[in-house]
């Protein structure tokens, strides 16, 4: 804590926002029709934390390369990600997992095609503005 009047400079060195980079990658994967784009981005980020190439990463965590490739290719759901993915990202303290989980939920909702479900989700999530806007999605 800095005392009032202190001349300490507690400004931190600026750093890249790795969560944001992860979000961007997930959006790319969504466009490329990955089944689980956020989980894929997280798996890649987790391996990025280790700095290892895929074979070495698989060996270190006692996985097959195919398993790692499947996870990074978006075949594994967010909730089914191997435990090391969460552990690595958490320990790096550079990723906001809540935000990433939120994006995963948002992407999952896109798959809901029922107008009834979509409507109730819209009301639940952003009750108010969506109603007042009274417009459909502009794409």
């Amino acid at each position: 804590m800095r005392a009032v009047g202190s001349i300490d400079d507690d400004r931190r060195e600026p750093a890249a926002d790795l969560t944001f980079l992860c979000l961007m990658m997930a959006e790319d994967f969504l466009v490329r029709e990955y089944r689980h784009p956020v989980a894929a981005a997280l798996a890649l980020a987790a391996r990025g934390v280790t700095g290892l190439e895929r074979p070495a990463f698989a060996e270190r965590f006692d996985r097959t390369e195919d398993e790692v490739a499947a996870t990074e290719g978006g075949s594994v759901a967010f909730t089914d990600l191997p435990v090391e993915v969460g552990d690595l990202l958490e320990s790096s303290q550079k990723y906001d997992l809540l935000q990433l989980a939120d994006l995963d939920r948002a992407f999952s909702r896109l798959a809901v095609r029922s107008s009834l479900e979509s409507a109730s989700w819209t009301q639940g999530q952003f009750a108010g503005l969506a109603v007042y806007a009274g417009a459909s999605s502009r794409r």
């Binding site: 400004r11 931190r12 060195e13 600026p14 750093a15 890249a16 926002d17 790795l18 969560t19 944001f20 980079l21 992860c22 979000l23 961007m24 990658m25 959006e27 969504l30 466009v31 890649l44 980020a45 391996r47 990025g48 934390v49 280790t50 700095g51 190439e53 895929r54 990074e72 790096s92 550079k94 906001d96 809540l98 935000q99 989980a101 939120d102 939920r105 948002a106 909702r109 896109l110 979509s118 989700w121 819209t122 999530q125 952003f126 009750a127 108010g128 503005l129 969506a130 007042y132 806007a133 417009a135 459909s136 999605s137 502009r138 794409r139």
Partner: protein, 229 residues
Amino acid sequence: MQKHTHDDGARRSDDRSRVTELMARIVDGDEAAFFTLVDEFDRRVAYNVRQIVTDMGRRDILADEDEMGGLVTDAWLVVRERAGGWSPDGGAMPWRWAHRAILHRVSEVVGHRTSPLPDDDGVEDESWSPTGDGDDLILTRLRNDDPRLALMLTTLKDNHSERDYLIVVEYLQQQSFGDPSPSHTVGRLYGVKPDNARQIYHRARKRMRQLAADDPALESLRDFWWLAA
């Protein structure tokens, strides 16, 4: 003058071979290597960005941790976009090699975030209408119907530029409408790049979380879905 030691030289050589390896992996499609590169060399890029912003005379930006972090992130995106064109034979590290492109990106971002919106910046008036025109009316009505949402919007508005506020609200609306790519829609509406729209949204949320955590008056927002999720 800074004294260079043998260790400095060895470290530079190690860094160069590590960067070369990671860049090659990125170009080969190993996306994990990009995260590693950012993790290991972020300070170098941050230093470059700090120099650029200093040269631009923007001390206000230098003092803003969020803005600086965003610019460093932007610089990394430039490096990633151009990874295929970099060669270790050129002698410069990727962020030095891409300096002009990074400078351009920083100028673009700093310019639009901090300057008043001119009349002739290419954003047509109707682009501002979706949530902007009826904004006060909406807030008044919301205060009765959903006070927490009203508080969230008021706080958002008070702590951001008008443009950023509108971009965030529009982004939220597009998400709620099921738009699979809100950043592109909002980008088109407000005349900003999708990356910038995404970043403005992302930072606003981060800032709002911090405000809610720090300010007892905003305690009710701490578990508000947008900030708590």
